[in-house]
């Protein structure tokens, strides 16, 4: 194992990889409230600060609500701001998530996807962040610790270029606490990748300009048109950030990942750590002569609809694996994909509630699913995987 580790490789869990990314990105202010399983991010940042390696003002408020309020206000002064949370904490922030995007604050937040209560649970499930879908935050989903480090740095670039807040997510425990060799880039490479930008609006003495003041209907309407225009730029900015990161580190990223999609007759579509299982299932299916592939959605908001349509254009069957649950409708990625494909043809869709509550979805289960649904008529209702 140690033979794999060269100078820039460290054994890090997903959360510590995030903390490394944040340390390198160099935020000015970070208000953070502890919550399982996010806490190791906060603890690692505090440890970096104690070592004198992380020059950032860490604020420890009494709640996630106040953490996000302080994040918004610090960002409003022009400071670079980071925070992190999970599940209940993210949901407590809800009204401020709308405020942050409406006020166009380029905050970067890391969310560790965890089941929402009740009942209480601490298991990987993306319902927490997916139910913040309409708050105006850019949402990215990471599959593994290396990607979490890389993505949190890219998130600052995307946020500051679009003046929209960005939320990066990874799954509780499967990613947050899984230890893998992670390449930690050099500080200079990250500094060059993340130049400081002049903000278009900030609070400062002598300017006399206010933020968030009550607006008439026309001005409020205009604020959403401007957000829409900014969101429309995010897909390109995400691609650019992924490409430039590739030039700097050798690890390029796109808004989605197409895995063995050449000549595929069916494709899994998923987000987050489920992709690891799906990738293994694809390999086994290919070995058995079944042309399977996988599309992993990395950018969820804005939804890269055209890229999804292109990736699935010639695929007869798509099996959507949702580790989340919208009661009364089913899996959220399934709904989103159906909406993106509507009127454009595309594959027959099947939506699976796969691993909701964190239950294990074995590779064999996905292999069997692929065989079972090769020729099935499209299903509209969500299908629970045991």
């Amino acid at each position: 194992m140690n033979r794999m580790l060269n100078d820039d490789l460290q054994l890090l869990n997903g959360n510590h990889a995030v903390a490394w990314g944040v340390r390198l990105a160099g935020p000015d202010v970070a208000p953070v409230y502890p919550i399982t399983p996010q806490t190791p991010i906060l603890e690692k940042l505090i440890a970096f600060q104690a070592e004198g390696k992380f020059d950032c003002d860490l604020i420890t408020p009494e709640s996630e609500h106040s953490a996000m309020a302080a994040a918004v206000a610090a960002s409003a002064t022009g400071a670079r701001v980071f925070t992190a949370t999970s599940s209940q904490g993210l949901m407590l922030m809800h009204e401020l998530l709308h405020y942050a995007s409406g006020a166009r604050m380029p905050i970067v937040m890391f969310n560790v996807n965890r089941t929402p209560a009740a009942p209480w649970g601490f298991w990987p499930d993306q319902t927490d962040s997916l139910s913040q879908r309409d708050t105006g935050w850019v949402q990215l989903y990471s599959e593994h610790p290396q990607e979490s480090l890389d993505t949190v740095v890219q998130a600052f670039r995307i946020a500051e270029a679009s003046e929209l807040p960005v939320m990066v997510n990874h799954d509780a425990f499967y990613v947050s606490h899984a230890v893998e060799p992670v390449s930690v880039p050099e500080a200079k490479a990250v500094r060059d990748f993340l130049p400081r930008r002049e903000r278009s609006l900030w609070l400062d003495t002598g300017l006399g300009r206010s933020i968030g003041a009550p607006a008439g209907q026309e001005a409020w309407h205009a604020s959403r048109r401007e957000m829409d225009a900014a969101m429309a730029r995010v897909e390109g900015l995400t691609r650019e950030a992924g490409r430039l990161w590739g030039e700097a580190t050798g690890r390029a990223y796109d808004v989605l990942e197409a895995y063995r999609m050449e000549g595929a007759q069916q494709a899994f579509v998923t987000m987050g750590s489920m992709a690891g299982t799906a990738r293994e299932a694809v390999d086994r299916l290919r070995e058995a002569g079944i042309a399977a592939g996988m599309v992993r959605l990395r950018l969820f908001r804005p939804l890269p609809a055209a890229a999804l349509r292109a990736a699935l254009a010639d695929i007869p069957v798509a099996l959507v694996l949702d580790r989340n649950f919208s009661p009364g409708m089913g899996g959220i990625v399934h709904q989103e994909l159906a909406a993106a494909l509507y009127g454009h043809g595309g594959p027959r869709l099947h939506g699976f509630l796969a691993g909701v509550g964190g239950i294990n979805v074995p590779v064999e289960r996905l292999e069997a699913l692929a065989r079972e649904y090769r020729d099935a008529a499209p299903t509209h209702a969500p299908i629970w995987l045991e």
Partner: protein, 292 residues
């Protein structure tokens, strides 16, 4: 303060959106002039936010962030830390909130900021109820006062925010009144020079909410001070108490000046007088044992 000789620094503009005769505008003017131009403000949804005005206008010369109702202290924290991180740590950060945003929904964030001793000046414009939404009770509404949600009079006493803040041992807590503007200005001046958390509670008789005549809000505020209902006081570091006003008259004239108390019986008025007397005596006792 002789208002005819008041030296206005132009930090609060005419054309603001306060009700005619509202003394909150008057106190905002004194506070903003005293704070001066090197300041950034946070305002919670409240009458104050309305008075500051809607986009693209502002009645304040300094910039404000219009936060959410429970976030004034948390946003004050964020503004201060954000400015300090960029080398602007000397800029004054002032938070404006109503009693709803302070005693009720914002007290969690306020307590947290106080516990961290954030370097902010937090001003609560205390009109003893949700007056901006048409006059409902808050936990600052006094015992017996009628509001839209307590039409028969509030059954419980006003929350004692001063002692809650004293328990946090913050550097400075003070009360002020639009009837004593020189005192208000002096307290803002003093608070500005102190590093750490400062809380200033200003009584604001609300013309429609309290049922006060348009020309008499200053008079009602003076009656509140002189009857001991709203004493003028300061507490430094939780240990140095100063009660600057005296209880010089019964509460009858104060109660009679407003419609929110007119349903009270003679017995209820006497009971309120006893409550006010006991409260004032308690303050004097605390002053005596906490001389600093």
């Amino acid at each position: 303060m002789d208002i005819s000789r008041y030296e206005d620094h132009g930090q609060f503009c005419s054309g603001h959106a306060a009700c005619g005769g509202c003394v909150e505008a008057l106190t905002m003017r004194v506070i903003l002039n005293e704070i001066g131009p090197d300041a950034v403000g946070v305002v919670a949804p409240s009458c104050t936010a309305v008075i500051l005005g809607g986009y693209p206008t502002s009645s304040a010369r300094i910039p404000f962030i219009h936060g959410l109702i429970e976030t004034a202290a948390a946003m004050g924290t964020g503004v201060k830390r954000g400015l300090a991180a960029q080398g602007k740590g000397d800029t004054t950060v002032v938070c404006f909130a109503g009693d709803g945003g302070t005693y009720d929904i914002g007290i969690q964030a306020l307590s947290s900021a106080a516990e961290r001793n954030e370097d902010i000046l937090y001003v609560c414009f205390d009109n003893e109820g949700y007056m901006n939404t048409g006059g409902q009770k808050s936990s600052s509404t006094p015992h017996g006062a009628a509001t839209g949600s307590t039409p028969l009079g509030k059954a419980t006493v006003k929350k004692n925010l001063i002692e809650i803040m004293v328990a946090h041992r913050i550097p400075y807590i003070a009360t002020a009144s639009p009837s004593h503007l020189a005192d208000l200005a002096a307290k803002v001046r003093k608070a500005r020079a102190i590093r750490g958390m400062k809380v200033l509670i200003v009584v604001i008789p609300c013309l429609p909410g309290w049922g006060v005549a348009d020309d008499s809000a200053v008079r009602v505020a003076r009656l509140a001070v002189e009857s001991g209902v709203f004493p003028l006081m300061e507490v430094e570091n939780g240990t140095t108490w100063r009660i600057a006003s005296e209880q010089t008259r019964p509460i009858d004239a104060y109660l009679a000046s407003q419609k929110r108390y007119r349903h009270l019986s003679d017995g209820e008025r006497e009971a309120l007088q006893a409550e006010v007397d006991a409260g004032f005596a308690r303050l004097k006792a605390l002053e005596a044992i906490n001389p600093g």
